[in-house]
């Protein structure tokens, strides 16, 4: 039995220690936000935060999550309010098919946490998730916009 916290809730799963976190989330705990795209850490559709760090959950064994904190897109909104990144994603109409977007948003949130004011180069380096629909231009714009909106108001 592996126990960990998902979006602030204690969860447990009776699974093999090597079962990837992605499949524990999706098929055992019914957390469907993280998506399967490749299974080999190439596409990022499965991106979640493990103790605040973005990870590709298809390539993280369940055992590595034991006792840790997992945050998925479902846990991003706080008290019913969307995260500024989610809002920027709506303002700039980023998603097309939407399949990659949970992962994109989790990657962007992690980037902004580390680097509240990323340059284009920083975005290039951090946002390596695939989007087959080609929403990249809008992802970039939305990240810049979210960075602006997250700036603490000047006194």
């Amino acid at each position: 039995m592996i126990e960990f916290t998902v979006n602030g809730r204690k969860r447990s799963a009776d699974v093999e220690p090597e079962m990837p976190l992605l499949w524990v989330l999706r098929d055992v705990l019914d957390v469907k936000g993280p998506k399967y795209g490749c299974g080999i850490a190439q596409c990022g559709a499965c991106t979640v935060h493990l103790n605040g760090e973005p990870v590709r959950s298809c390539s993280v064994p369940a055992s590595a999550a034991a006792g840790q904190n997992v945050l998925t897109i479902e846990g991003l909104a706080q008290r019913g309010r969307m995260h500024p990144v989610q809002k920027a994603w709506i303002d700039h109409q980023v998603p097309q098919c939407g399949y990659c977007q949970s992962g994109q948003i989790m990657a962007a949130v992690a980037l902004l946490k580390k680097n509240p004011n990323p340059s284009d180069r920083d975005i290039d380096a951090a946002m390596t998730n695939l989007c087959r629909c080609g929403t990249y231009a809008r992802i970039r714009t939305a990240i810049h916009a979210a960075a602006q909106s997250m700036k603490p108001a000047k006194a």
Binding site: D14, Y36, G39, A45, Q93, Q96, A137
Partner: protein, 718 residues
Amino acid sequence: MKTAFTPSRRKFLQQSAAIGGGLTFGFHVPEALAQRSDAPGAEMNAWVVIRPDDTVIIRYARAEMGQGSSTGLPMLVAEELECDWRKVRIEFVSTSEQLRRNRAWGSMATGGSRSIRDSQEYLRRAGATAREMLLAAAAQRWKVPGSECDAENGVIIHRPSRRRLRFGQVAQGASKLEPPGEVKLKDPRDWNLIGKSANRLDIPDKVTGKPLFGIDVQLPGMAYAAIAQCPVFRGRLRSVADERILGARGLIKVVKLEDAVAVVADNWWRANRMLKTLPIEWDAGPDGGASTASIREFVRFGLEDTSVPVARDEGDVEAAFAAAAKVIEAEYYAPFLNHAPLEPMNCTALVEGGRVEVWAPTQNAEATHATAAATAGVPLENVDVRLTHLGGGFGRRGFQDYTRQAVAIAKAVEGTPVKLLWSREEDMQHDYYRPMTLMRFKAGLDAAGNLTAWRIRDASHSILAGVRPQDIKEGVDRHALGGIVDLPYGVPNLRIEFAMRNSHVPVGFMRTVFHSQNPFMRECFVDEMAHAAGKDPYEFRRALLQAKPKDLGVLDAAAKASGWGSPLAAGAHRGIAVQDSHGSYAAAVFEVSVSGAGELDIRRVVVAVDPGHVVNPDSAEAQVQSCVAYGLTSVLWGEITLSQGRVEQSNFHDYRIMRLAEMPKNIEAVLVPSGGFWGGMGETPLAPLAPALCNAIFAATGKRIRSLPLSNQGLRLV
């Protein structure tokens, strides 16, 4: 409609108790999110339902795969309905309803950029009809002539008395009235919604991780299937040593299909892991030795063959070549490509008591329905297909191989719903690929550099041969000749020949279809002609397009927006191309520089598009961006290769997809809708990209690109 959608919840829960063990899942299917129909509403017609609280439900019968038509099509209805756009909700249509109501929703297929152009008329009519009924009901209630009433933003106003009634207040009565026989559609000048950017209705659910997709379908007691298909197309399953995994954790069943093995288990990862350990023997059949080189040679024979069908023969090309001041010849090649939507193929099915229920991300719901019925051996009336969002489609999801498999597997575990999911590896190696095509051109120019003769020989796989062979007339597949047989250029002597060369590799419709490779060949060769004629490639095209105002219009728009002819930064060069397709017109200009080491820098991309009318400009711009990413991925790296009859690529590490850092930063979508027609928007912008880029590379390097992808031509994106 609601009852038709409600699955037998109790039954599922019983099953879940029986086989699910400790599973305590909620029940959610993606369509439920789209509906949220709690309050009853008054159905005005098949498309429009209005609730007492003024919520307007507009039904959607096509596939939402990212293109935005689940917003664009409702906009067409709402434009005529005069409802409050903020109160519009979308509801997906199911195929059993479609069948029961005698195809009330027209075609449910989504492909060929047809969603808007084929349905705009009946959708606008449905909105107008509902509006007239609401007006009539309000007029009756007020006992005033209908001509004194207007509908505006969800309210009916009696002009003389300024009295008002909300749609929700009169909808019940209105729905009982006889629909008017004739309705007048608005003049485009009076449109309020169409042509103005609207936020997409599906986006809020897509940024909050809602389970919208086929892969997210969750039914109580559901089992999961992973599949391995014969790696050589047309091969067969010989044997599988399934006793090896007997008693393995989570195993429910091993299902043998004619050309595949599926493992059904209590979660997908276990199913897939067991599948990988299964010793499977395949019968590769006669194609087990085929390679890219052998297939290319086989297709290329079509260029050499002395007798092939002729699609067009005008004037006398041979005489014109003999009289020409200059003759040029070239041969072009485009490889197989994989669609690679990010959501791999999947389908959930339940076979029970002679009925089949299917949840599928499909581009052709009625074909899914028919496939499910045929596979399960039940009448059409006993099937229902519920639509989900698609994690990309690009033409792949019109084919029903995954539906057939899912239903066959579900049949083997009757009473248990099964979600079949392909691994990325299966998806990569079992596509209906963009066809491999070769073309040879010969052109004659007179002393003044005018084009006098053009001969085109196309040797290609045919998609129609697999799906609609009756449409191939006298050996000529006009579909495969898209952009060639309907050449917009005026040329006095023209001969177009077609050699159909089908290998064992299955081929299918991939975004822009033959307009993904034919324009590359045609428009690069036109550039070769211009160069040979010593003329500017833009002016050379202009002269040949005098009888084609719409092609000319986008060509001019792209040239103007890009500043064609104006000085460029040091090292930068431009290329141009034009191509109509899917009822619309597009032209592109690329600005690039190429270093001596082959480092390609794409500095600017300008795409001009004339789709007649633009419904949602913001979505149209998104489609241009999407086409740039999809098109450039193909041009830069796209290639599916074969060895031993099987596809060599297996995942994104060896089938490269453009990433954010590689996306050109400077993309301009120039929308020039000229009105009077309705064209597609999801594919046309892609068509001129490859040739415009390759022509820019020629301008920069003097090297002609006649074979794709660019990664095989010593070029590397920086």
